[in-house]
């Protein structure tokens, strides 16, 4: 007879399914699924697991279950809709308000308000995580300003001084040309895919003194077609077609450009200033190769550095117990190391013992004094080549920091991807026509949303 076996199998399956859907581990503990970056080097995984063990020891009623997660525009919404995100996950500043408005993340404002540092956030940073009523529903855990990353080894091979990186866009162009000619690698490369094309193009537009949107009251006006944006695209066009200094790949996204940079195939590229951690833990960049400097700014009073950051949020599906446990994890893992000496030291020590990077530069989510204090606590554990980052760290606070566009940000970035791709893959691309069309499309988008 097969039926008893079938019944047993069905019961077993039902039990497994029930267990998967429960927030209770069966021993009274609250199960919380937390996010860990995929593809980390073993040292970083060990450090993370150690932090999890420390948390569980301090909170014996909570059972943490790490789940690989990395925010990507194209997979995030599928995970969100499919309910497969961890209970605690991170999103960029650009998505904070939208997710809160659409009730796609849990309202944890009551729990966040009880945290001792709740009122101390840098106002620019805190806005990204606030609901319309001013309550913080998403916790800013990190902030960045865009920077120019460069390969010191390629600089040396090309006869450039790696301790004196370019400080104007003309110098970037001539350095790129020299690297391409003398090393055969791409002198300068740029992201163009999966909305990152728009992200970097907007960064350059800001650096030239432009803006991509103008907000007046409730109305948002798209300002993509400006002299600054045209100048940016013309310079890119000239680097690509006149100098031939941008290599042969014009379909980069964040992951692939990091890969090629770490592999020594790119001389310079623009990305977040704290990117060294990712480059080391995910792409095994050689520390000796790495250099970073501030983004060159045009001689224009409106020129500034695009800044953004990361928010920690709790899934909309979480019940009260998971919300409470989730906020405790956010406080323990992401925040305490920024504000509490013991936590900062423990975090840095754990990371350093596992050879995970400690000390990569970031922008403060609170004020500069708190940030400097934290750097002092953890100084002895710093294992990143800080001296190679001084062109950035010595100057990053002197640059005006500008927030990303606020309306339909990722969608407008998506509209700009084909614009920059056209300029880099079509010698005869009509920059004016491309921008005119992109602006009309963006305006239609802004009017609709």
């Amino acid at each position: 007879m097969r039926s008893p076996i079938l019944v047993a199998a069905a019961l077993a399956a039902a039990t497994v399914l029930t267990a998967c859907g429960s927030d209770d581990a069966g021993d009274g503990k609250t199960v919380v699924k937390i996010a860990i970056d995929p593809g980390l080097e073993q040292g970083a995984v060990d450090a993370y697991n150690e932090r999890v063990a420390q948390f569980e020891k301090a909170h014996p009623d909570i059972d943490l279950r790490p789940q690989e997660y990395n925010w990507e525009a194209t997979t995030f919404t599928a995970q969100l809709a499919g309910g497969t995100l961890p209970d605690v996950f991170t999103v960029p500043f650009t998505d904070g308000r939208g997710l809160i408005e659409r009730k796609q993340v849990a309202d944890i404002s009551g729990l966040v308000a009880e945290l001792p540092y709740a009122k101390d956030f840098n106002p620019n940073v805190a806005d990204a995580g606030k609901a319309a009523d001013g309550k913080t529903q998403a916790v800013p855990i990190a902030a960045y300003g865009q920077a120019l990353h460069y390969n010191r080894t390629l600089f040396t091979q090309a006869g450039l001084d790696p301790d004196d990186p370019p400080s104007t866009w003309d110098e970037v162009r001539s350095a790129a040309r020299q690297i391409a000619r003398r090393t055969g690698q791409a002198g300068y490369a740029q992201m163009t895919k999966d909305n990152t094309g728009g992200w970097i193009l907007t960064t350059l537009d800001y650096a030239y003194g432009g803006r991509t949107e103008k907000i007046s009251g409730d109305r948002a006006e798209s300002t993509l077609d400006t002299p600054e944006m045209r100048a940016v695209l013309q310079d890119l066009h000239d680097m690509r077609w006149t100098d031939n200094s941008m290599g042969a790949n014009f379909l980069y996204d964040w992951g692939t450009i990091n890969q090629d940079f770490a592999a020594g195939r790119i001389g310079m590229y623009v990305s977040g200033g704290g990117n060294y951690g990712q480059l080391l833990t995910q792409n095994a960049v050689k520390p000796a190769d790495y250099g970073v400097t501030v983004l060159p700014l045009a001689d224009d009073e409106d020129a500034g550095v695009l800044g953004g950051g990361t928010l920690a949020v709790v899934s909309a599906n979480a019940d009260d117990a998971v919300k409470a446990a989730g906020v405790k994890w956010i406080d323990f893992y992401y925040m305490a190391k920024l504000t509490v000496q013991d936590a900062a030291v423990l975090d840095a020590k754990t990371l350093a013992e596992s050879d995970a990077p400690v000390g990569a530069p970031q922008l403060p989510v609170f004020d500069k004094a708190t940030y400097d204090e934290m750097l002092g606590w953890t100084a002895e554990y710093v294992n990143v080549p800080l001296e190679q980052m001084t062109p950035y760290t010595d100057n990053m606070f002197d640059q005006p920091l500008l927030t990303e566009p606020t309306r339909s940000t990722q969608e407008v970035y998506g509209l700009l991807d084909p614009v920059v791709q056209s300029v880099l893959t079509d010698r005869g691309a009509d920059i004016g026509a491309l921008l005119e069309q992109a602006q009309a499309d963006a305006q239609a988008l802004l009017d609709r949303n």
Binding site: W71, A78, K193, A248, N249, E411, P418, Q421
Partner: protein
């Protein structure tokens, strides 16, 4: 899949008696029990999602908040999107190139292989090998081949014969043919096996008779092989059209639709509607376009089979 297209010999079939009573009599219940698992699987994983997609195409939803009924708005949004016509053009271009290269290649290969007496199994295995390679791995492999720098695999080979490096995926005009080349390589093996199987059904006497009549290789292929394969060719043709109309994997993994939307296909556009916006995609527009594509393909298939009804046999 139809492998032998010869007309079935007429057989005497006794006329079935008119059925009386419920269908579950005469073994019907047992059949139903055996069918049940498959019915459940199909209902849960195929028919129910199709039904949900139809409903969703009339709704605005992000799958988290409550859905609202919007009538035909999603269809209007899709039809007024200028990118739709770019995607339709690109898909037709892909389908045309795939027909031009991808359709004859397996046929020629199968005919040649069927003529070979030794190592036929080895050739078959080699031809089928790309089908066994996981598609994502194949695309990653070909990305190396298509490296646009002068040191890329294909460009190095071109360099040997004095041809300048080509930009491959990095050029709006070259990207689509490059995708078709990989897709043909990846899919040809399966079609070759189908043709080879059909070719074994061609009676050797026909070739002998043709040889006696003085036919050479070309005339044998034209007058014997192709007519006997006609049924299979008709089916593989429509399967290829349906397959290429739904091309997604290659543009998604190779180019993400670039450069400058030159490889954005209809399925990639559907994907973008649903998933490209991280704040919750336009699932209504995505399902609306999916339904329109399904309807066009269904009508095309029906017309195709109606027009070719009499062509299946020689």
């Amino acid at each position: 899949m139809i492998l032998d297209t010869r007309p079935a010999a007429p057989a005497h079939v006794p006329r079935a008696r008119p059925r009386r009573g419920p269908r579950i009599r005469g073994g019907g219940l047992a059949s139903l029990v055996f069918l049940l698992p498959m019915l459940v699987v199909f209902t849960v994983f195929s028919w129910l999602p199709i039904g949900q997609a139809v409903v969703m195409s009339f709704q605005q939803t992000n799958l988290v908040s409550d859905a609202t009924f919007v009538g035909l708005e999603n269809f209007r949004t899709v039809l007024s999107d200028p990118l739709l016509w770019t995607a339709v053009e690109n898909t037709l271009w892909f389908a045309f190139l795939a027909l031009l290269f991808g359709y004859p290649v397996p046929l020629v290969a199968a005919v040649l292989m069927s003529e070979v007496r030794r190592f036929r199994g080895l050739y078959g295995a080699l031809a089928y090998l790309p089908v066994v390679v996981p598609p994502v791995v194949a695309v990653l492999l070909w990305k190396f081949f298509y490296d646009a720098s002068p040191t890329g695999v294909f460009n190095t080979l071109l360099g040997y014969v004095g041809v300048d490096a080509l930009p491959w995926l990095q050029d709006a005009d070259l990207a689509m043919p490059a995708l078709v080349l990989e897709a043909t390589w990846a899919a040809a093996g399966g079609t070759i096996i189908i043709y080879l199987a059909a070719l074994t059904g061609v009676a050797p006497e026909l070739y002998e008779a043709a040889e006696i009549d003085g036919a050479g290789v070309w005339r044998k292929v034209w007058h014997v092989t192709l007519p006997r394969l006609r049924g299979v060719l008709l089916v593989t043709f429509i399967l290829q059209i349906i397959g290429t109309a739904q091309v997604f994997l290659e543009p998604f993994l190779f180019t993400g639709g670039g450069p400058a939307n030159s490889t954005t296909t209809i399925l990639l556009l559907i994907y973008d509607y649903a998933f490209a916006n991280s704040l919750g995609g336009d699932y209504g527009a995505a399902t609306a376009l999916s339904l329109m594509l399904a309807a066009v393909l269904a009508v095309f298939s029906a017309v195709y089979f109606r027009l070719t009804r009499g062509w299946g046999t020689s």
